[in-house]
Symmetry: D2
Subunit: 141 residues, 4 copies
Amino acid sequence: MPFIYSRTIRFQDTDAAGVVYFANVLAMCHEAYEASLAASGINLKEFFSNSAIAIPITHAEVDFFRPMFCGDQELIHLTPTLISEQEFRIDYQIFAEGSSDRPLSQAHTRHVCINPTIRKRENLPEMMWQWLKQWSDSETI
Amino acid sequence: MPFIYSRTIRFQDTDAAGVVYFANVLAMCHEAYEASLAASGINLKEFFSNSAIAIPITHAEVDFFRPMFCGDQELIHLTPTLISEQEFRIDYQIFAEGSSDRPLSQAHTRHVCINPTIRKRENLPEMMWQWLKQWSDSETI
Amino acid sequence: MPFIYSRTIRFQDTDAAGVVYFANVLAMCHEAYEASLAASGINLKEFFSNSAIAIPITHAEVDFFRPMFCGDQELIHLTPTLISEQEFRIDYQIFAEGSSDRPLSQAHTRHVCINPTIRKRENLPEMMWQWLKQWSDSETI
Amino acid sequence: MPFIYSRTIRFQDTDAAGVVYFANVLAMCHEAYEASLAASGINLKEFFSNSAIAIPITHAEVDFFRPMFCGDQELIHLTPTLISEQEFRIDYQIFAEGSSDRPLSQAHTRHVCINPTIRKRENLPEMMWQWLKQWSDSETI
């Protein structure tokens, strides 16, 4: 079951071409990720300033099919997938509200769990397994 | 009656000091302004790309009392005040959700209606009078 | 010959994890693109608000190898490649200044030339051919 | 003697009205502040993640006289003033390059030195006195 995040396009998201600035689409996806973590009971303040465990993004990728304008209402569908005990991937599809046949944009990010001090890989903490179980497509995590 | 906008602090809002980057507080206030316009039935896409009428900000000011952290829930109270037939001011107070006695931050912006091509003042359009009536403290607009 | 753009990491680029927020790496690459256009004599104001021709990004992709911190000096190497008469790709490599052996990050974007009103493909304008000739690796454009 | 910072307006700075988004003007001023600190030999990475001393902004204010467009070259004149042993103010004037008679925008920020853990005031560290001496108008610091 994907996590679904509703987002209104804001003036600050746009650029002088009148549409959402390309890199801001990835920032919107990250907002959806944060909302999905909070929905699984994860404390965001601790999560993003944890000195023992960090889960930085190692790769991000986004396709732009149709432009988004200030005031538009979008729905971001988020689906995480486990890659290994230290890594997961998140797929994002962004739809105009009320029209879920073809996305405006799609993206994915890849995340790896590390000890941020020594920058070595660590196994994902228990709370991330819970989060993966909750929002993943797979029955087998 | 002020317009009240609920906003979650996101990772992107923060900086390396671990709290919201100062200029982003004004951007959050502008989000509340956009939400108040939409709540009055104003089409944001047309509003912000109108070639006949624009209402740019001429002054902005913000006080920071306490820091905001990723994941925090804030309530932004927005109150517009008419200054002249071409100008209004918006006051913002930002509270931590569940604690409305002392704001974390307060701000105001001043807006003037112009013809953006010739950059001369114009009277505020009817929809802005409606918006002012709806969210202003004053009984007399 | 790649275009090389020097960029200092700023406080605003960072997030509460103390390093550059992931999507801002793509924004830095876009800055390098803008600087390369200006270096080829292209007027940026006209370029980005042209109502006859637009060259939106259709795909963007970025890998993160090592974090970047506030105050760091980076060099962004930009290399465009022609894909078709309507499309090009830009490759970016970001190095810490003074250490060009292994990039901190790499990215690429894909751009397609369209008429923004009807959103149909158009051939790239002459100025973009000049820009491609100037900064591309290829001898054969 | 003010510190002068040269800044090109970038596509990301703009919004769908075709000009720089209002809050980004304050972010540009902060960039000038960072550049002035670096010019006084201050290490920005340490400065902005120091756990013993922080110098947050308590107030910011900005006036907008004329719009700024993508590709425009601006000069930001920065002048700090000591307020007390714990506080200083920075005045900013933003000029179009090549026209220094009337600013496009002006701003100021107020900063207070604190211990970030207990959030109590502290005296400004020696390096900030040096920075104030270097860029302040006053002869008497």
